[in-house]
Amino acid sequence: MRFLPLTADDRQAMLAAIGAESVDALYRDVPAAARHPEAIDLPNQKTELQVERAMAALAAKNLNCSQAAAFLGAGNYRHHTPAALDYLIQRGEFLTAYTPYQPEIAQGTLQVLFEFQTQVALMTGMEVANASMYDGATACAEAAAMAQRITKRKKVLVSGGVHPHFADTTDTFLKFTGVDVEILPPDAMGLEDLIGRVDDDLACVIVQTPGFFGHLKDFSALAEAVHEAGALLVVATTEPLSLGLLKTPGEMGADIVVAEGQSLALPAGFGGPGVGLFASRSKYLRQMPGRLCGETVDVDGKRGFVLTLSTREQHIRREKATSNICTNSGLVATAFSIHMTLLGEKGFTGLADYNHARAVEAARRLAAVPGVKVLSSTFFNEFAIAFDASAAAVVEALAAKNVLAGVPASRFYPTYPELDGVLLVAVTEMNSDEDLDALVAGLKEVLS
């Protein structure tokens, strides 16, 4: 077997050195009752060519987005991956390294993480950021838990503009600890009043920008109200590219910013893995979950980097840790950071601007389709449209024409009949003019 370097001779020699009769003898502590029968009902080993073909056969059963005009978003966005990025993260020294517990031989990963933390802090307008969480949804849950630790309060309010997966994950994460997570109904029109709901029992209010239905809002006034009530404002983002064009959550007064970083790190990838971005004000540093990379010096006085403040973590604190997270999303964070470095100030802001311009153009053209209404008055690169037909059915019909028209709101909110005709349409630099033509033509046909 190609992955296994021991030969039959090696095994014999090693058993002799150990003084064991057989490999089986080494399992003598294992009760016979738990031994696998010889015949597990699974196939035997395959050649690399066979495996490659099996995987390709599965891949061929999917309609991949490059084969279609794809306007899919709802928290997961397709951007162009520079070839240099994918090359760099495949380098074995990044790919096959472990968590950098031995800083002397992990300065590569550590410097990347330090740069990542800085990039995330700059983008979000916050003071500090950690070295990543699993994904945006779990980062959001951790933010709520952190707010609860800070405020010692047991109530969390989640805006109806927050991605339902973020909301549900937060609910799941907190409900067993007795925290009451109130999730407001979907805010398709962007009209939700949050300030009126702020009270002194709240640990935090969680909002999102751009909202799940595309709307952009200034949370500055909300931040004031929340702070006045002694609570924290958590701002979530599912499209970090928007931060290249928009006023930052930090400027608006956010205490914690969480985001899903997939869109700038990896292809859509059926939604996983992603990378959770987590930034905060520095006064809350010691309540932050997750790993942190810090600057220090070595015995020769040279600058270097180490994992730090691990006294917050479960290795040392065990049941008193800020979180149980251990493995996080290091390689995706590396991809995110490399992409941000490739973009730089000019590319990051320019690509954001270009995305918005494309989306504005798409909204204009879709608004002209008879029966289609654009719901989002403001948006970044995704907006909601509505029409008098089942969005799910329309999407299914267009998929047959290789147009992936968007994400029907009903997929998340089946119990809100008023959302049946609502479709989320995302437009990025990946959508060509021909894609847009196909979408417009397809919608015209299906809706007529």
Binding site: A56, A97, T109, C326
Partner: protein, 486 residues
């Protein structure tokens, strides 16, 4: 040549990603356009590639050498898996495409589930947990949901003192009080010790098996029996599944929940700290509480249950653990690995992993201090008695190994012995590589015993950085670059 931070490159109008020119347009930002600069540096593509190439060269990975980090299963990551994960039909698919257009992806998840269930004998698996600790959370939440369904309000989870720190942390996050079970002199947990702590307040026992001392828990079946008798559940930490994969039916140990680290046993790359993937297998008692989403096959093909309210049959999902549908990219890699090895190959994997660990153990036992009697499973535990009176600490010893060209073993864990050195070679090391490593360790042990403590205190000397001041880092945290004051 030292490699600067990207922020220390001269800031300029440079980019490595050109954007098409934008025609003037009327924005829809509602006045929320950012005004200031972000503060990012500008590098051209050649500079970026060189920056990260140079940084990568300051890293040690499996690809560069033996990585005997105990409890971490640093095995070879086949390159085909990376290739498969990049096939357009597996990479460029969106989580919210109509399910009719992603039948291959759902079939892949279903096939992976089938393998995990067959390998463990367990009836159900929740795929979505993002890592081992997240899988623990899944298991404990399922336990909590089951207890709630039974109308029982049990408060406590028992955790052996040798457990990974994630175990008590997870229990605490789910609102449980953690009580510790002491280890026996032999490094094992006895049924008797568990029994002593059991009671109607106990919801579950979390037990790592093979345990963190590298030993199989011989009383596991009995422990499960008494735990079940007490109305509690058995969580088994599957971090060390590599030792037993294809050889032991987890179900027959009486386990109710166990996470499986795809990034350990099934070889998805660690990537400097993740992403991982921690599918959790569940017993019939816990299966109904598995979180959303999950894949269902019916006569029309595969479908995805994404919302609690859509659950059918006996299912009463306890909720959702993360965004989207799990670590799909890791599923691709793990399934490619499983198909490559097959049943026979996986049995050889565990056998070779255990053989390699026992070989290390046997060849080093006379110079290091073996903590417990073997045979060990996939890893070998030593403690620092052999360093007594040498002035050399476990840390010094590990750092000296770096100068020999190796990544150190796990240090100071598990906590049940003093100055632990935990070595896990995995099955992907050759005998020749182990012999070379053994020679290096023996050489260092002799050097320590010969009194050359200064050599160890200076180590490492051949690395891009020498020992770093971790105290300073924690006392005055500098967690980001800030522009120099001008």
């Amino acid at each position: 040549v030292e490699e600067r931070l990207i922020f220390e490159y001269d800031h300029h109008d440079r980019t490595a990603v050109d954007v098409p020119a934008i025609e003037p347009y009327e924005d829809r930002l509602g006045g929320l356009r950012r005004t200031g600069a972000v503060g990012l540096p500008g590098l051209a593509e050649p500079q970026v590639v060189r920056h990260y190439t140079r940084l990568s060269q300051k890293n040690y990975g499996i690809d560069t050498g033996l990585f005997p980090l105990g409890s971490c299963t640093m095995k070879y990551n086949p390159r085909l898996n990376e290739k498969a994960a990049r096939m357009a039909g597996l990479a460029d698919i969106h989580p919210f495409q109509p399910v009719s257009t992603v039948q291959g992806a759902l079939e892949l998840m279903d096939t992976l589930s089938h393998w995990l269930k067959q390998l463990t004998g367990m009836p159900a698996v929740a795929l979505s947990p993002a890592a081992g600790a997240h899988g623990e959370l899944c298991g404990v939440m399922a336990i909590r949901a089951a207890m709630d369904a039974r109308g029982e309000n049990r408060t406590t989870i028992l955790v052996p003192e040798s457990a990974h720190g994630t175990n008590p942390a997870t229990a605490a996050i789910c609102g449980y009080v953690v009580e510790s079970i002491p280890a026996e002199e032999s490094g094992r947990v006895s049924a008797e010790a568990v029994k002593a702590k059991l009671g109607p307040h106990v919801a579950a026992v979390m037990i790592t098996n093979p345990n963190t001392c590298g030993l199989f828990e011989p009383e596991m079946i009995e422990i499960s029996r008494i735990v079940h008798e007490a109305g509690a559940y058995v969580y088994m930490d599957g971090a060390n599944f590599n030792a037993v994969v294809g050889r032991i039916r987890i179900a027959d140990l009486g386990v109710d929940a166990m996470h499986i680290n795809l990034h350990k046993t099934f070889s998805t790359p660690h990537g400097g700290g993740g992403p991982g993937s921690g599918p959790t297998v569940l017993s019939a008692a816990l299966a109904p509480y598995a979180p959303v989403p999950y894949v269902v096959r019916d006569d029309k093909g595969f479908r995805l249950v994404e919302l609690e309210r859509d659950a059918d049959g006996d299912a009463k999902p306890f909720g959702r653990m993360k965004g989207y549908h799990g670590q799909f990219g890791m599923f691709v890699r793990a399934l490619a690995y499983m198909l490559a090895l097959g049943k026979d190959g996986l049995q050889q994997v565990s056998g070779d992993a255990v053989l390699n660990a026992n070989y290390l153990y046997a060849r080093l036992a006379d110079v290091l201090s073996a903590s417990f009697e073997g045979p060990v499973m996939h890893e070998a535990l030593f403690d620092d008695r052999f360093l007594k009176d040498t002035g050399v600490t476990t840390l010094d010893f590990a750092k000296a190994l770096i100068d020999e060209g190796y990544h150190p073993m796990t240090m100071y864990f598990p906590l049940v012995v003093h100055g632990a050195l935990l070595m896990e070679p995995t099955e992907t090391e050759s005998k020749a590589a182990l012999d070379q490593f053994i020679d290096a360790v023996r050489g260092l042990a002799e050097r320590a015993k010969a009194g050359d403590a200064e050599y160890f205190r200076q180590a490492p000397v051949h690395t891009p950085r020498r020992r770093l001041d971790e105290t300073l880092a924690a006392r005055k945290p500098v967690l980001r670059w800030t522009p120099p004051e001008s």
